[in-house]
Symmetry: C2
Subunit: 186 residues, 2 copies
C-alpha cells in the first residue's frame, strides 16, 4: 500500500476521514503530489453462541437493510480495538465472550489507509439486552456454520475481506475445518 | 450504501478525494453529521490476447511490486469510462481491442463512494509500445485462464472485487465456463 510518510501534511480533518498530501519523487526524478485518505479504524466480530454464528440484519439512516457482522468504527477516544470489539458486540447483541481474541487486521491499502480489526468471540453468553443508538435498527440472527458460509453469495452481505475467507473455506475442506475450529474454539 | 444527498456540503476538495458532510436525521429524530468520501472513479480491464489474459506486475513510488489488472484512476477531465479504459490499456500494454465492452461497476459503498468500472477487452492486438509515466514500472505478463484464477490466492494481487469473482468461478463449473466465455468472447 501507499504508506503515508512522516513528512506528509494533513490537509483535512473530519469526523471519519483525514486527508494527507505529500510531494512524492517519481522513478524519473520528477515530483508529484500524492494524496491518501486515512479513515477511522473499525472492528468486526465473528461471535458464536452454542453452535451458531451471529449475523446482524440491519439498516442505518439512508442505507437499505443488509447483513453484517457485529462491529463499527472506533470513534470513542482512548478505546483500543479489543475494548471497541467488546463494546460493539455487547451493545448490538447483548452478548459477551470470555475468550474473545484478535484474528487479523485488514487494510485495503492504495489510496485508502483504513484498518479493519477482526475479532473472534467464541462461546458467548447473553449478559444484557441490546442497547442501540438512534442510528441503528438491528435484528440479531443465529446461523449454523454452513449457512454462514452461504452469506458469501448474498448480494447484501457487505464484508468483502470476510467473503474472500468464506469462499476459500468453501473451496478447500482443510481450510474449512480450520476456519470452523478457529471460530468455535473447539 | 450511504448515498450522498443533494443538500450535502463539500467540505474538502483534493486531487483524488472530495469529502461531503450533511446533517442526517436518525431513526429517533435526533440529527447527526454524516461524512462520506467520494474518490475519483477508476477503470480496470480484463484484456485477452489470443488464449492468454493480461496481468501487470508493477510498482509505483512507495509501493512494493504487486500484480494488478491494467487500469487506473479517471484523472483526465472530460474522459468517459470507456475512453479511460482504452487509454490505460494502450499506455500500459500497447494493446487495443475492437470489441471492448463495459462488464460491471463496483462501488464499496458505506462511507466511501468510489466507482470502479470493469471492462473486458477481448482479442487484443498489439498496436504500440508501452508508454509509461514517471510513476509507473510495469512488466506485462500473459497467463492462461487457469493461471489467472490462481491469482485469487496470491497475497499481492490487489483487486478484491475481482478475487470474489474468481473464487466463485473456481467453486462452480458453470460459472467458470460462463466467465471464460465472457472474457474470451468465444
Amino acid at each position: 500500500m501507499s504508506k503515508i510518510p512522516p513528512h506528509a501534511k494533513k490537509v483535512f480533518q473530519g469526523d471519519v476521514y483525514e486527508i494527507y498530501q505529500w510531494p512524492q519523487q517519481m522513478f524519473d526524478g520528477t515530483v508529484k503530489t500524492f494524496e491518501v485518505a486515512k479513515r477511522l479504524p473499525g472492528v468486526s466480530i465473528i461471535a458464536t453462541h452454542q453452535d451458531k454464528i451471529v449475523i446482524l440484519h440491519q439498516r442505518q439512516p439512508n442505507t437499505d437493510w443488509h447483513h453484517t457482522l457485529p462491529g463499527g468504527y472506533m470513534d470513542k477516544p482512548g478505546e483500543n480495538p479489543l475494548e471497541a470489539a467488546e463494546r460493539e458486540l455487547l451493545e448490538e447483541t447483548g452478548l459477551k465472550s470470555e475468550q474473545i481474541f484478535h484474528w487479523k487486521t485488514y487494510n485495503p491499502g492504495g489510496r485508502l489507509d483504513s484498518d479493519l480489526h477482526f475479532f473472534i468471540a467464541p462461546n458467548c453468553q447473553k449478559i444484557a439486552e441490546q442497547s442501540l443508538d438512534g442510528g441503528e435498527e438491528i435484528v440479531v440472527q443465529f446461523v449454523d456454520f454452513e449457512e454462514f458460509l452461504e452469506f458469501a453469495h448474498h448480494e447484501n452481505f457487505h464484508s468483502r475481506s470476510l467473503i474472500i475467507e468464506m469462499l476459500k473455506a468453501k473451496l478447500d475442506p482443510n481450510h474449512k475445518n480450520e476456519f470452523k475450529k478457529l471460530i468455535f474454539k473447539e
